[in-house]
């Protein structure tokens, strides 16, 4: 997995390439933790994300909770497999998917 970060003022865009699973989720968690400060809009771009497991969902949930306090979080370009995971787990109602 690779993470591409683009910062524009208080807006942070993070594009994730590959798989978000047990081995890679801690990497995203660490990147987010060091980036949250002063961010009011976080956009996660899933265009190149193949799939995610529950380890990835945990990181998304924690990020959503943080952004609920300081602004908004948007997820865009969600593929069909990932969308189905969001539906089954109820994350579709928690996350803002564009």
């Amino acid at each position: 997995m690779t993470i591409e970060k683009t910062l524009n003022g208080s807006e942070l865009n993070i594009a994730i390439v590959g798989r978000l699973d047990t081995t890679t989720a801690p990497q995203l968690e660490a990147t987010l933790k060091e980036s949250f400060d002063g961010i009011t809009k976080l956009t996660l771009d899933f265009a190149a994300l193949e799939y995610l497991s529950s380890a990835g969902l945990r990181v998304l949930l924690a990020a959503q909770k943080t952004m609920n306090k300081q602004g908004e979080m948007i997820i865009k370009n969600v593929n069909e497999t990932i969308n189905e995971i969001f539906e089954v787990t109820g994350f579709i109602d928690i996350l803002t998917i564009e």
Binding site: T23, T81, I85, G90, D93
Partner: protein, 136 residues
């Protein structure tokens, strides 16, 4: 039937995924089923790696069988760690808001939802978790 016995550590998730995919390769498996199986490996082998032998390290065996008519994969995960029935856990409440949500329980829930059959048994000192997935 093919079997792989490997140290249950998260660094080996990729090796297990590759092994299972190799067994399924020749069957023209639908992309979506393939990805769901990959996620299941991450959840189950990940769990075994994290909890079965902690703090020691032990082995896990992954067995793959493919039946052809109708096309169906049976994957069995076996470890000799602490007895643990992941199916005994209650399903998470998927209607709660972000702030009410608890971390945990989602992995096995995703496994149950994406596979056609999931069974667990503890036998001869081994945790045996079997999943079946139609590849039609």
């Amino acid at each position: 039937m093919k079997e792989l016995t490997i140290a249950a550590v998260i660094e080996n998730i990729d090796a297990v995924t590759d092994f299972v995919n190799e067994q399924l390769e020749s069957y023209d498996c639908p992309m979506k089923a393939q990805m769901q199986i990959d996620i299941v490996i991450d959840e189950i082998f990940g769990n075994i790696s994290h909890y079965a032998y902690t703090p020691a390290v032990g082995d896990a065996t992954i067995r793959v069988e493919v039946a052809e008519d109708p096309l169906c994969a049976t994957i069995t995960f076996i470890d000799s760690g602490v007895p643990y029935d992941p199916l005994a856990k209650a399903d998470p409440d998927t209607t709660l808001s972000a702030d009410e949500r608890e971390i945990g329980g989602l992995g096995i829930f995703m496994v149950k939802k994406s596979m056609d059959e999931v069974t667990y048994e503890y036998k001869d000192g081994q945790n045996i978790l079997t999943i079946k997935k139609s590849l039609k």
